[in-house]
Amino acid sequence: MNFEPLFTIAKAKGLEAIQVYLEQDGKLDLEVFKGNLEKHEMADTAVLSIQAIYKGKMGKLRTEVIDLDLAEQWVDELIASASLIESKDEVFIYEGSDHYESVEGLRQEALENLSIEKKIAMVHALDDKIRQKDSRIDISQTFYGQVRKRVLIQNSKGLKLEKDVNNAILGAQVVARENDDSRSAFDYIQSNDLGDFNLDDIANQCVEKAVSQLGAQSVPSGTYEVVLKNSASASLLHAHVSMFSAESVQKGMSKLVDKLGETIADEAINIVDDPFRKKSAKSGAFDDEGVPTSYKAMVSNGKLTTYMHNLKTAKKADTSSTGNGFKGGISPTNFYIEAGKTSYDEAVQSLDKGLVITDLQGTHAGCNPISGDFSLQASGYLVEKGKIVQPVALITVAGNYLSLLKDVTAICDDLKMNFGFIGSPSLKIKSLVVSGS
């Protein structure tokens, strides 16, 4: 699509600069439940977001009716929107950079070329493997989701960038049942490389997790040493990632304000934001503002080294954008705690009396990303003298995320990325307050 006619009208009506962001998505979603193909969805959509500067203010609109005959109406709406803005913050439409990293392999055509029938067969095969694994598996739900995303950013300052990415996720949710007790578990692989979808791995992981939780009991309330499993740690990091956003910091909504250069975590902790990570849908050479992305250490040996910036927050802080301007705000790309050297098994064996937390529920409500306080429903295992002695459920763990990062005593080698491309290895934590029986 060519948006030059829109830019011409915009200029004639007095807009100082205008930028379009066009995203076209092709999707396929499959789900097998108890052996039946329960969900089979396909979609082709396009969404156009436009922003324009009028009298120094940014007007915005979003539309799914993408028809250049509406250009004049769009420009009027943008002017109306800009006219309401009171914020004195400087606004930006980016002229582009001399250098954009060349990121290979964002789209693997083989992923799209594999026929729908074969993908359906793959989801069925995963379901079969799971149900054959253990007779206590009562419910299995397996799924495959694939997306191809094409992005065009074009503006009146001559910037024109395009990106074409694809990615898929294959996973399963299972419920194990024994007597009157049922326990669920979830596992997945996310990649754009068909070779990565190892059905046995997913089947083993989620069956083992669900079955081993059968008979889970609460434990007495108290303070416990904890191994926080990679996926649980990732979901906790995810809930607190806004702390690292310069927007939260500048608005006084992050406890990391004024902490640059200071130790905020155990000195073994390194947290990175990596836009070039392979096989990730979040990877790319530029952000939604058209700014080049960059690999950066957020926390280096426990010290906070930078916040995530977009053009606006960078200007305020007299620094450069870190290429984290996404969806009108600030988001990470692939954001994770770097793996350490301890194996997960070693970490568990090193607990004299403690808990392994494999799952945290309700992180959207039970975490306060401003203060870092959290109180969450958890499940996992009780460990005594290095051995798992009992599955544990219906407990809550409570603490503060920044204190937790300082209380890390070992970092495992099992980095796992979650759905939102935020990841962590398993972490051993000195102590957490547990409320149980």
């Binding site: 439940f33 039946n36 193909l37 969900k39 089979h40 969805e41 396909m42 979609a43 082709d44 959509t45 396009a46 007007g59 915005k60 609109l61 979003r62 539309t63 799914e64 009716v65 993408i66 709406e77 109306a80 929107s81 309401l84 803005i85 009171e86 914020s87 004195k88 913050d89 419910i139 419920v175 049922s182 326990r183 669920s184 309330s221 108290g222 608005k251 006084g252 909504m253 406890k255 009108g328 529920q361 309700g362 959207h364 409500a365 039970g366 306060n368 401003i370 203060s371 306080d373 109180s375 969450l376 429903q377 219906l394 407990i395 809550t396 409570a398 603490g399 307050v433 409320s435 029986s437």
Partner: protein, 464 residues
């Protein structure tokens, strides 16, 4: 919006297969939102959602596709692609749609597109000023205004051809209080199936002060002790406990798959006899109301639990086939991008006999959860968790000190059987409910209730 003959052609193209059901959901939704933060209007955005979803099924097996193209060839090609999942001889006769029926309830007095943007801006400014004036400790306020007009046409091979217009608006106030060391926040978000006249039905200032009051109260609260204790959950948004712990487990989405703790329990006692619970999508101008569900069936009032006995699930068309039950008009979805499934509308525990004072006075030691935060539930196990936004300890029948950081944990079926007092002060509050068919507006509600024993998680360690 697409014309009748094109809709008929899409349906018939989809039924050119062994499929026995085809449905077209056409949506055009215009929304506007304004956000204010740090005393200034920061954002004003219009959003135009426009697209069509096509669902094709054989029995309860369905395929779904959506696009935002209005082009005949794209829509027919999608219908044909979907039909390919059910190859074989056609089983349905050619479908002809009847007359289009339009929903007439939930009248709107001031359509959002007839109200000047400046008037909408004035609402967030009033909210901001009121929240800030509550206390010097309020350091940050963000206020957001949102309205939308969603026009839908729903047509299916089940003699359905209806149009509905959902007009909704909501004000959200988020306040942050700080004393320099600690920060706490409070939220309040009134909304309804209304146009701009909504803002004449309540005091914007009072709503904003409520968000500020919670933040300031929690700033001075001690950490909540942990342990097992009676929990008194207040009216209004306290109903989120029922919504999460029981409501989701009564949706056919999980019941039909036998994945709910309440599967196969109709007619059985699942709660104490003082509990009656209702899901009512017909309440005049309520946030979760509409004329039709998103499968084109009339919204209804459903009694889910009557005097402790499970009387009805919430059922959508396809899950109904699986369960051998009729739809209860509960098929809902966020937009054309989602297949509908059974969802709640305005769900509440009905009034009981106790007064608020009686409930407090009869509690020797426990937690009074005055304002609930969000929560979530695992529908297969019924395990739930809720954050308490504003809580107090109750000692010897009196409300004592405020406590922060509490989480309530339990399972839905146990909690229902432990409700031992139900108040007479029913109140509803608004929320957004996220599930498989997207994020939809729902009311939660209840009078003040007491659960005789619940696990309370807090940072203060075990209570003595």
């Amino acid at each position: 919006m697409l014309d009748k003959s094109l809709i008929e052609r899409i349906i018939n193209k989809a039924l050119d297969s062994r499929a026995d059901f085809a449905e077209v959901f056409i949506e055009d939704k215009k929304s506007s939102s304004i956000t204010l933060q740090s005393n200034t209007v920061e954002n004003a955005v219009n959003n135009h959602v426009h697209g069509t979803g096509i669902r094709v099924a054989k029995g309860h097996n369905s395929v779904y596709g959506y696009t935002n193209s209005d082009k005949e060839e794209d829509l027919l090609a999608l219908a044909e692609d979907l039909a390919k999942s059910f190859p074989g001889e056609r089983v349905r006769e050619t479908i002809t749609l009847g007359e289009l029926t339009r929903g007439e309830s939930h009248a709107i007095k001031r359509m959002p597109n007839t109200v000047a943007m400046q008037e909408k801006v004035a609402i967030v400014k009033r909210a901001n000023e009121a929240a800030r004036s509550y206390s010097d400790e309020i350091k940050q306020v963000s206020a957001s205004y949102m309205d939308y007009v969603q026009d839908v046409i729903i047509a299916s091979s089940e003699s359905i051809y209806v149009a509905d217009q959902r007009v909704r608006t909501r004000l959200g106030i988020h306040s942050v209080a700080s004393d320099g060391k600690d920060m706490q926040s409070g939220f309040n978000g009134p909304g309804g199936h209304y146009g701009f006249e909504f803002y004449e039905t309540f005091s914007v200032e009072e709503a904003a002060k409520e968000a500020a009051r919670i933040a300031v109260t929690m700033l001075h609260a001690d950490e909540c002790p942990s342990g097992t204790m009676p929990v008194i959950i207040d009216n209004g948004f306290g109903g989120v406990i029922f919504h999460e712990a029981c409501g989701h487990s009564l949706e056919a989405t999980s019941v039909a798959k036998n994945a709910s703790v309440f599967s196969g329990k109709k007619g059985e006692k699942i709660a104490t006899p003082i509990v009656t619970a209702i899901d009512d999508g017909t309440i005049e101008n309520a946030w979760g109301s509409a004329n039709y569900d998103d499968e084109g069936r009339k919204q209804k009032r459903r009694v889910l639990i009557k005097d402790g006995v499970l009387t009805s699930y919430m059922v959508d068309h396809l899950n109904g086939l699986r369960m051998n039950e009729s739809s209860t008009g509960s098929g809902r979805r966020e937009s054309y991008r989602y297949q509908p499934t059974s969802r709640m509308s305005n769900t509440y525990i009905d009034n009981g006999d106790s007064t608020f004072d009686e409930i407090i006075q009869n509690t020797e030691y426990g937690l009074y959860a005055k304002k609930m935060g969000g929560g979530s539930v695992n529908p297969s196990t019924g395990d739930f968790n809720f954050a308490v936004m504003e809580g107090y300890l109750v000692k010897n029948g009196k409300i004592e000190e405020a406590v922060k950081g509490a989480t309530l944990v339990g399972t839905g079926k146990d909690a229902l059987l432990k409700v031992d007092m139900v108040g007479n002060n029913l109140l509803r509050a608004q929320g957004m409910c996220g599930s498989v068919s997207g994020s939809i507006p729902t009311d939660v509600g209840q009078p003040t209730i007491r659960v005789s024993s619940m696990t309370v998680g807090g940072r203060k360690g075990a209570s003595s």
